[in-house]
């Protein structure tokens, strides 16, 4: 709540959530107080043997009052729903951003990969006033990433990707933690969420040990796992070209369309699900061959193929 020194709100979104919480608490508090006051007043006024009148209730009290408060409650609740749903829908719009951080949760730690390939454990560094997108998956059970200072949280599932996005505004060190019970050391899955000014972030980022960036690592894996044997342009095998694949609508073998997002591409690599229309199902699956980190790198490479193309066509 505003004023809780332990839970600063550090984004516009967080401030808006606090306002909603306070207004709804005031509204429900007023309803609660109305009931409590009535109960106390009636208890005193109509205690057994008190002189207050017990004349029969007039007819309007029998029915109109009942209908009145039913309708009033219904409309109040519908109004609250409408107000909250509006906020929910506007929060759905993902910002366009290239600042993507990959998060891999496992029992009982958070592995974080910065856009430039820098790796951290149980810490997330982000620049302030920048749209950031987290692409999250789990190695084992369901976890949940909770950023109290931003008032957001999302479950992190094995076998699929979930996303969080935010724009943190106030530099500082905050906490993030796992909120979905995940086994013995659940309570130790807690880390530092560090918001830095863009300049500080750039300096911090430069100081990290030199690693390949994800896409470059992915390009290397693409060759070493033999993907390029079929998927490279000019290959003799009839396999789809991956340039411009990411984000496109893909017609499926057997009808229907699917958007080629991270989950789709991951499933194609690991499980060879969802064969696109017009291609023979000849691709081997890589379950148990390619690990989560390598999938992440391959994804970054495949995404970069689309970014290149967009750049070229512009």
């Amino acid at each position: 709540m505003i004023g809780f020194s332990d839970v600063p709100e550090i984004s516009q979104y967080a401030s808006a959530i606090d306002v909603k919480f306070i207004v709804l608490t005031a509204l429900t508090g007023a309803m609660g107080i109305l009931v409590f006051v009535l109960v106390i007043v009636f208890s005193i006024r109509y205690r057994r043997g008190s002189p207050a009148s017990r004349a029969p209730l007039p007819r309007w009290m029998q029915r109109d009052v009942e209908i009145g408060w039913t309708v009033a409650t219904l409309f109040t609740f519908l109004f609250v729903f409408w107000w909250m749903a509006g906020a929910q829908l506007s929060a759905l719009a993902q910002p366009k951003t290239n600042f993507e951080i990959h998060i891999e949760a496992k029992q009982w730690m958070w592995k974080v990969e910065q856009p430039n390939g820098a790796r951290e454990i149980n810490a997330i560094h982000v620049p302030a006033n920048t749209d950031v997108r987290l692409i999250m998956t789990s190695d084992d059970v369901i976890h949940s990433l909770f950023l109290p200072a931003l008032r957001i949280k999302r479950d992190v599932l094995p076998g699929r990707y979930t996303y969080l996005w935010f724009k943190a505004q106030r530099p500082g060190t905050y906490n993030f933690m796992c909120t979905q019970f995940c086994g013995t050391d659940h309570a130790r899955m807690i880390g530092h969420f560090v918001v830095m000014t863009p300049e500080d972030y750039a300096r911090w980022s430069m100081a990290q040990p030199e690693t390949d960036d994800l896409a470059r690592e992915g390009a290397r894996l693409f060759v070493s796992f033999g993907c390029s044997g079929c998927h490279a342009p000019g290959s003799r095998v009839h396999a789809p070209d991956l340039h411009g694949l990411y984000g496109r609508q893909i017609p499926l073998d057997g009808g229907g369309f699917v958007t080629a997002d991270e989950t789709y591409i991951r499933d194609c690599i690991l499980l060879n699900k969802h064969i696109p229309a017009g291609y023979p199902p000849v691709m081997p699956h890589f379950q148990g061959v390619v690990n989560e980190e390598q999938v992440t790198s391959l994804l970054a490479y495949i995404r970069s193929l689309s970014a290149e193309q967009q750049g070229a066509s512009r």
Binding site: F4, D6, V7, I17, K20, F21, T28, G29, M31, G32, V35, V39, F42, S43, Y46, R47, R48, A52, R54, P56, P58, R59, Q62, R63, E66, W69, T70, T73, L74, F77, L78, V80, F81, M84, Q88, L89, D140, V141, I142, S144, R151, I152, K153, D155, L157, P158, G159, R160, T162, N175, M177, C178, T179, Q180, F181, G183, T184, A187, I190, L271
Partner: protein, 558 residues
């Protein structure tokens, strides 16, 4: 004080044959098909499980006095709160009011001699004991560390505890719930006394009817879900394991499709109990009887369509979030109407404040506080922040403990003279009722605050800024423990030394009061005839609806 006229005088009580002294051997209790005795068996059983579950959470609250791990290991901590959840949900809260007060009172309130299937009723107790004792053995000897929610793939592929055995125990106990539901539905349909039309049923019977429907429709889903867990864990059948093409979210849908209606299994009976208590101690007809009936049924039906509000952050679609949020707001409306009606029932009453009334008023306050915070959790943007924090813990404890346990204790006190033929000590009971409310608020109000401040649930070690809230909460839990132990002592005392109650010490109108206390084995001497609606505590309003313009009561006939 009483408006009802009785055509028989209560006989000299100590000599009269009743359901308690007709046979007194242990064997006669273990083979009884008398719904009243089965109600007593259930009462003793769930009281035992209540204190086991309470003991587990007592250790947890002690551990949480400091931010560090002090008295138990991380694994033991996880097993303790799992034991607390599993025992309290399935072996106390779900059976609590239906199997105890419900078993005892439903046939009596509708003027029947027993439930429709007395032997099925006894079987349900044996199934319950089998499932419950086996699960308790598993939880203590082996241990389960998944929480009561058994989320996959943690429970199927990763947890080290005895998940499959615990699931099997809960599975067996589920059949006792189904048997109870079948019995009540059949009893209420078939065995109502002459003149006991549907809209003359006391609200407690209506609540039992509504809850039985929920039990019948929801519990089989739990059984299927537990079987799937069992199959995946023991036989490796991949249902939920994403590595083999399964879907872990499928489990959450199935689980909450049962477990959200299960919340209504816990609260609907409580609503029935306090409706009886408010009318009796306010000497007032229930305000808006028909609205109260339809509200019960509406909650039971709409309660099946809100399970997705447990999954706002789990990765279901935004459209599903929207629909489940909408339905969750809708289901809050009938609950609010009931609160208003109880309040209006007090208007122009002749209110007195015996212990059952104090418990009922505690119920009203705590249920209102718990219900209103449900609106926060039904709002998607707020739930995204609050989900899996102590705010949620506080919310459902206000409803299930503040609400259901208050009503359960209120009901136990209210019908104690009927169960045992003796009065409980009034001042001790009032003291316990007030202590309970104070202890409860002290325990759970701080949990709302630390929940919003970002304290996640199921954490043994936590950030130091939350310590003050945890300490207040733990102190409250100690007060609460005292408030729960007190009734055990003075009610036990009253069994032997309590004042003889007489057949109707409260001057209440229900049929169960129109027979001796304790009742004879066949409940009534003869078949009662019913000529009017429930709660005739004062003259019908001059300008009221037709159902209240019924002639004066005749009471029970010999």
């Amino acid at each position: 004080m009483t408006d009802t006229t009785l055509e028989f005088a209560p006989a000299a009580e100590p000599l009269e044959k009743n359901y308690l002294n007709e046979e007194t051997t242990l064997w006669s209790w273990l083979t009884t098909t008398d719904h009243k005795r089965i109600g007593i068996l259930y009462t003793l059983s769930i009281t035992f499980f209540f204190f086991i579950g309470g003991l587990a959470i007592g250790v947890v609250r002690l551990e949480l006095m400091t931010p560090h791990a002090d008295i138990v290991s991380a694994e033991a901590y996880n097993r303790l709160f799992s034991l607390h959840g599993i025992i309290m949900v399935w072996f106390f809260l779900v059976p609590s009011i239906p199997t105890t007060l419900g078993n005892f009172l439903v046939p009596m309130m509708i003027g029947a001699h027993d439930v429709a299937f007395p032997r099925l009723n006894l079987l349900s107790w044996y199934l319950f004991m089998l499932g419950a004792l086996f699960t308790l053995y598993v939880l203590i000897a082996g241990g389960v560390d998944t929480g009561w929610t058994f989320y996959t793939p943690l429970s199927t592929s990763y947890a080290t505890g005895h998940v499959a055995a615990a699931a099997a125990g809960v599975f067996v106990a589920g059949f006792s719930t189904i048997a109870t539901g079948v019995n009540f539905v059949a009893t209420i349909h078939m065995l109502r006394a002459p003149g006991m039309t549907w809209f003359r049923l006391p609200l407690f019977v209506w609540s039992m009817y509504a809850v039985s429907l929920v039990m019948l429709l929801a519990t089989p889903v739990l059984a299927m879900t537990l079987l799937l867990i069992f199959a995946e864990r023991v036989f490796g059948m991949p249902v939920f394991d994403p590595a083999q093409g399964g879907d872990p979210l499928l489990f959450q849908h199935l689980f909450w499709f049962y477990s959200h209606p299960a919340v209504y299994i816990m609260i609907l009976p409580a609503m029935g109990v306090v409706s009886e208590i408010f009318t009796c101690f306010a000497r007032r007809r229930i305000f808006g009887y028909t609205f109260m009936v339809y509200a019960l049924l509406a909650i039971a039906v709409v309660g099946f369509m809100v399970w997705g509000h447990h999954m706002f952050v789990a990765g279901q679609s935004a459209l599903a979030d929207l629909v489940f949020s909408f339905l969750s707001f809708i289901v809050a409306v009938p609950s609010a109407i009931k609160v208003f009606n109880w309040t209006a029932t007090l208007y122009r009453g002749q209110i007195s404040f015996e212990a059952p009334m104090l418990y009922a008023m505690g119920f009203l306050a705590l249920f209102t506080l718990g219900g209103l915070t449900g609106l926060h959790l039904a709002s998607v943007p707020l739930d995204i922040h609050l989900h899996d924090t102590y705010f949620v813990i506080a919310h459902f404890h206000f409803i299930m403990v503040g609400g259901t346990v208050s009503a359960f204790l209120g009901g136990i006190h209210y019908w104690w003279p009927k169960f045992t033929g003796r009065m409980y000590p009034e001042s001790w009971a009032r003291f316990a009722a007030i202590t309970m409310s104070i202890g409860f608020i002290t325990t759970f109000l701080p949990q709302y605050v630390m929940g919003y401040a970002g304290m996640p649930r199921r954490y043994q070690i936590y950030l130091p800024q939350f310590q003050i809230y945890h300490v207040i909460s733990s102190v409250g839990a100690m007060i609460l423990a005292v408030a729960y132990i007190m009734p055990l002592l003075y009610l036990g005392w009253s069994l032997l030394y309590g004042r003889r109650a007489g057949s109707n010490p409260w001057g209440a109108t229900g049929l169960e009061w129109q027979t001796s206390s304790p009742p004879p084995k066949e409940n009534f001497h003869g078949t009662p005839r019913v000529v009017e609606g429930p709660y005739v505590y004062h003259d019908a309003e001059t300008a009221s609806g037709s159902e209240q313009a019924a002639p004066r009561p005749q009471g029970a006939h010999r």
